[in-house]
Symmetry: C2
Subunit: 292 residues, 2 copies
């Protein structure tokens, strides 16, 4: 990360030098936030601090309105949306079952082309996913808090509308922030409203799904299957029932790996450095009061 950020800063036309003389601090180590208080004391001229995360959790106690803080907000959404699409295609086209097979099985699977897709959440992942789905001609519904439009999708905000949309949906993608309202949203009742050949895809947080309810519904054939990049508990322990269900695919929270994310956050560093040099507003500014 350090090397990539140095290159990004130089690409943008800035120079990399000692902290005591620097106008900006680009944090390039995701692990060692605790070094911040000591380092910042020597940084007499710093006005802007760029953090490498999508959120700012490790720095939340250090946020300080003397500086402009920016983070990687929105940077990591495209790979996560890509993984959601990969899981949807793998599910609808039975690629998990075929990958496990040691023989030529009967034809199965259905198209995502033209299918009905329901996305829970209207943030960066949903926006990126709607973009990736654009050439598929899908009928996309987005369930979100606000009724602000999201590309060409149909936006719904009410639980009754969600319940009404579920039975006709081929792929349900969870792309929600985890809050008291969204934790456990996919429960027995939710799953029982889904079509028997529909797939559930989770790329946000395991706690959105009541795992025991999913374990009960999957073998019963209430839904076509589930492909989960996040689980509750996580990591999913050895011997857990989900590992052995034929219509369940587990990927180990790899929608956005460090390798995938590095060029994306480096591009943000380059962009923000160029904006900083030009005296223009930066991207991904953290609200110091709200802490995100």
């Amino acid at each position: 990360m350090h090397e990539a950020f140095v290159a990004a800063v130089r690409d943008a036309g800035a120079t990399v030098g000692p902290l005591a003389e620097a106008d900006a601090l680009i944090w390039a180590d995701p692990q060692r936030a605790e070094l911040f208080p000591e380092l910042i004391r020597t940084a007499k001229r710093v006005r802007w601090i760029q953090l490498p995360y999508a959120g700012v959790e490790p720095f939340v106690d250090y946020l300080d309105a003397r500086f402009v803080w920016t983070c990687g907000k929105g940077v990591y959404a495209p790979p996560v949306a890509e993984h959601a699409l990969a899981l949807a295609l793998a599910g609808l086209r039975h690629i998990g079952a075929y990958a496990r097979a040691d023989r030529w099985l009967e034809p199965a699977g259905r198209n995502l082309l033209g299918a009905r897709v329901l996305i829970l959440g209207g943030g960066g992942i949903a926006t990126s996913l709607v973009d990736l789905l654009d050439p598929f001609g899908c009928d996309i519904t987005v369930f979100r808090r606000s009724d602000a439009p999201l590309r060409s999708s149909r936006v719904i905000t009410q639980r009754e509308e969600l319940d009404a949309a579920l039975p006709a949906t081929a792929a349900v993608v969870i792309a929600l922030a985890l809050t008291a309202q969204t934790s456990g949203i996919v429960d027995h009742r939710f799953l029982s409203r889904m079509a028997t050949d529909a797939w559930l895809l989770n790329v946000s947080r395991g706690e959105h799904v009541i795992t025991d309810d999913l374990v009960a519904e999957l073998p019963a054939g209430s839904i076509g299957g589930a492909a989960l990049d996040v689980t509750d508990p996580e990591p999913l322990p050895l011997g857990h029932a989900l590992w052995s269900l034929p219509n369940c695919i587990i990927t180990p929270h790899i929608a956005n790996t460090p390798e995938m994310g590095l060029p994306l956050i480096a591009a943000r560093v380059r962009e923000n450095t160029a904006l900083f040099l030009a005296g223009k507003p930066l991207i991904g500014v953290v609200d110091v009061e709200l802490g995100y």
Copy 2:
């Protein structure tokens, strides 16, 4: 198929009636071409014949310039392109390996977003795949016979250009017609030029790949892996080496299943019926001389 075609014809504003009084014959049984010679004798007014296939092989001996013949040319390309994309994502994101796992594995995988993609073949499948890849921002090269442009891709026609493109490509998609020139195109030499983390995807014909060469290269790690919807031999026999290779995904020729294809060919029937009623040129006309 019969029911879907009847609905399509009626949707287009035509009526379905006895063959002796019909102006057009829509063939709705893919299995019984041998009935054609006897049936057509009673069809005094028929001017147009719509066949349900992408090619016209079962009817090739009956083609007769008294009629306008149309087939399903190009209709089935979008589902096949979708499967190619599903396999590319499954490969690059290690979904096959994760689907087989019974435990939380280490992070692996890379993005298709922004990756270099090489498509062998410039027909309907390639065109549909380029469209599906449009939001991914991929760098796409198409290897085809003619240098006619194909959307935003870079078109190459020479073997030396293909050899030069291989090492930097993340996903190589075979979407070729099978000819003497293309049979066995993916051999030891081809595979050894590919990057060690690149995936080979085949959605056209098994004979494009020298299976023994692939079986030799996959465990050696010469390429990242292979995801094949078609094989040689096909079906791939029980106990074949490809079934047990961890970096190989086999799907049983299901890129376009009958269930996926039916609504697509029905839409073509509807479209052509409307064009026929309007006296306009039909889509997918067969050249009776050339036989395709």
